[in-house]
């Protein structure tokens, strides 16, 4: 039992840190909340140290805790570390934005940390029960954060839509889980996997398992924002305060990826033939709807929302090409590529919403395409950073976006699904149009507002520059991260 508490040290640090922050913040008087912010960053740092300690202590081996409700493996550790980094960057990017709009409150920071806790629980879940509890913890925090700006009608509407659709999706996921529980008699993912391997040979039982699987896939698709379960994404991204959009668009994607891996790969690998077909439909639909609809958007946040849908569809290609005809020799490469894609997407998403926050100031929201017009005249360096971000999102070499797409596509081709790779490339080409349109607006159009950019704190300037350059560096040297991802999948 004592060992169990050492294994969940990162979660404990975050839980106690969030509670302590909540109490300390009551005594912070300043509007800027420097103390609370510093404390939030310190909690993130401590959690990262705890995660590293557990990782080194276990030597990369699997550890189960609390009666196998919790699993600590390399994938969980790696995703958690990425999530800490993402949330920490969210805090830096959104600080000024939140202060300008009176949203920098203790509740915001507390909910942010609890949302991260929910993600960590999902990443380390080894039971349907823990997956669901983590998901609810994360979702509840996000619903509240979207609605935090109560004077904005659009934010309230977005929160309402998010809440209703999210509750429906949770219901579907639970229904699917209850069916699988009924068939296998266990909530534990290892036990489910064992039972599924036996049951799936019998056609009656197989039908029943598929019945549950369909609902589980729907639930996962909703959380990843895949078409046709994507309707909430554009409205929530547009309606929420940009700082919250930045959060929703980044770290939760890592958690949703972990949820898909835990449920589909760890639990239902013997049904891979069935869920791969479902994922293929979702992937093609998402890439088509995301890339084509994004062209028609004039709102940047909405455009990036459709871009998320398309990217998550592309990521699915990696998930669905792991097992071919019962043979899973390619699985580590394919799942590793999907994981690499997710992490890289989070980095690109952080940068692109970070730019929107960077260009906004008190009384002005940078969210229209026109707002980027002539950015090169106003500030060439940040125009270059946006150029890198857009190239990476579009998948132009030598940025990392290209390499991520290449890795996923090679997994698809290795799995013998050439048609899927061709469709993906064609739809990405369509998608390149709207990313390159932004580059054109920045470099070849006259600025509508020629004043130089307002001065920003040094931390934000450095971080944004580092974020953009990281895409270039990772694009030239993708191997280390890719090797870590594949290693993590090997250790699954």
């Amino acid at each position: 039992m004592m060992l169990d508490f050492i294994v969940v040290l990162p979660e404990l640090v975050l839980l106690f840190g969030a509670c302590a922050l909540m109490l300390v913040d009551l005594y912070v008087k300043s509007e800027q909340r420097r103390v609370s912010l510093a404390m939030a960053q310190a909690v993130l740092l401590l959690a990262a140290v705890a995660t590293l300690l557990v990782l080194l202590g276990s030597g990369g081996e699997l550890i189960y805790a609390f009666g196998k409700l919790y699993v600590a493996d390399v994938m969980a550790h790696l995703l958690k570390l990425s999530a800490y980094a993402a949330v920490s960057m969210v805090l830096v990017y959104s600080r000024q934005y939140l202060i300008d709009r009176d949203l920098m409150t203790g509740e915001f920071l507390t909910l942010l940390l609890f949302a991260l806790l929910g993600m960590m629980v999902m990443m380390s879940a080894n039971s349907f029960l823990t997956v669901y509890l983590g998901l609810e913890l994360l979702s509840l925090c996000l619903y509240a954060m979207v609605a935090l700006n109560r004077d904005s009608a659009t934010a309230t509407e977005a929160a309402m839509k998010y809440f209703v659709l999210g509750a429906l999706a949770s219901g579907m996921l639970l229904y699917g889980m209850s069916m699988l529980y009924g068939a296998t008699g266990s909530l534990n993912i290892n036990e489910v996997a064992k039972q599924v391997a036996i049951l799936s040979k019998d056609s009656t039982q197989h039908a029943f398992l598929i019945f549950g699987l369909v609902f589980v896939v729907c639930g996962i698709a909703f959380k990843l924002g895949l078409a046709p379960f994507h309707m909430w994404i554009p409205d929530v991204y547009q309606g929420a305060p940009t700082a919250v959009t930045l959060l929703i668009g980044t770290a939760p994607k890592l958690a949703a990826f972990a949820m898909a891996m835990r449920l589909l790969v760890n639990g239902l690998l013997d049904l891979a033939h069935d869920w791969q077909q479902m994922l293929a439909i979702l992937a093609v639909l998402s890439m088509a709807i995301g890339n084509i609809t994004a062209i028609a958007q004039s709102n940047l946040k909405r455009m990036l929302a459709y871009s998320t849908i398309a990217h998550m569809g592309f990521m699915l290609l990696g998930l669905l090409s792991g097992v071919v005809g019962g043979n899973w020799r390619n699985a580590p490469d394919a799942y590793g590529a999907a994981m690499f894609y997710t992490i890289v997407y989070v980095l690109m998403s952080l940068g692109s919403f970070g730019v929107l926050l960077f260009l906004s100031h008190k009384g002005f929201e940078c969210e229209k395409l026109e707002d980027l017009k002539g950015l090169n005249r106003r500030n060439p360096w940040y125009a270059f950073i946006v150029l890198l971000l857009m190239f990476s999102l579009a998948g132009v070499p030598p940025t990392v976006g290209f390499y991520a797409k290449l890795a996923v596509l090679s997994a698809v081709v290795n799995a013998g699904m050439l048609w899927l790779a061709v469709v993906a490339v064609l739809l990405s080409l369509i998608g390149a149009y709207y990313y390159l349109r932004i580059v054109k607006l920045m470099y070849f159009d006259e600025p509508s507002d020629a004043t130089p950019l307002a001065e920003r704190p040094r931390a934000v300037r450095l971080l944004l520059s580092a974020n953009g350059l990281a895409l270039l560096v990772l694009g030239i040297l993708p191997q280390p991260l890719m090797a870590i991802c594949v290693f993590a999948i090997h250790k699954l």
Binding site: G67, L111, L137, A144, F208
Partner: protein, 198 residues
């Protein structure tokens, strides 16, 4: 056999009352039907020998949650005419979708799975459901149990953050300020020369 008969009676009552919840025009009636549905579900749990869960359902849902719900429904000024608008317009599509879903699920499961349900095993005398549940919650499922507590904590924080509004023009009293008042804040003693009577 008698238990099977009871199950079908309860099942029918649940389905009928659940249907009434969504078709009742008056929200108070809908809430009352929901109470009936909860109550009958707890009866079904009793059939499964889960007496603790059955009692909790009645105590928590019927006793506390639904009463609160009824209060809220009665206090809200709901315009019934506006709620009813569009009901008939949406009914055909909604009914088609619902019917199709039910038919699909039935087609998937009927005949394949119906014979596989097993009745609960007879329990030894002196077996306590509550004790077993408590033991599991605090040993095997302690992690999930604590997580559920964290979810509730977040719900409290979120509810307060979303509803607490510090209005600048509100005339509420602040007891801590009142207690801290000193004489010097309230009374100003001015020394002045006495006036002479004329």
């Amino acid at each position: 056999m008698f238990e099977a008969l009871l199950f079908y009676v309860f099942g029918f009552v649940i389905l009928a009352s659940a249907l009434c919840v969504i078709t009742a025009r008056n929200p108070v009636y809908a809430a009352l039907y929901l109470v009936l549905a909860f109550f009958t579900s707890s009866a079904i749990w009793l059939l499964l020998h889960a007496e603790f869960l059955a009692i909790t359902l009645v105590l928590v849902y019927v006793g506390a949650v639904m009463v609160l719900f009824l209060f809220v429904v009665m206090m809200l000024d709901i315009n019934l005419e506006r709620l009813r608008e569009g009901f008939w317009q949406y009914l055909p599509l909604g009914a088609t979708v619902g019917f199709l879903m039910a038919a699909e699920m039935a087609a998937m499961l009927y005949g394949r799975w119906s014979g596989l349900a097993t009745p609960p095993r007879a329990l030894p005398p002196g077996y306590s459901n509550t004790k077993e549940l408590g033991r599991l919650l605090y040993t095997d499922y302690v992690y999930a149990f604590e997580l559920a507590a964290v979810v509730l904590l977040v719900a409290i924080i979120a509810a307060i953050a979303l509803t607490l509004r510090r209005r600048k023009d509100s005339r509420s009293q602040d007891p801590s300020q009142q207690v801290k008042a000193r004489r010097a804040d309230r009374v100003r003693l001015v020394s002045m020369p006495s006036e002479n009577d004329r």
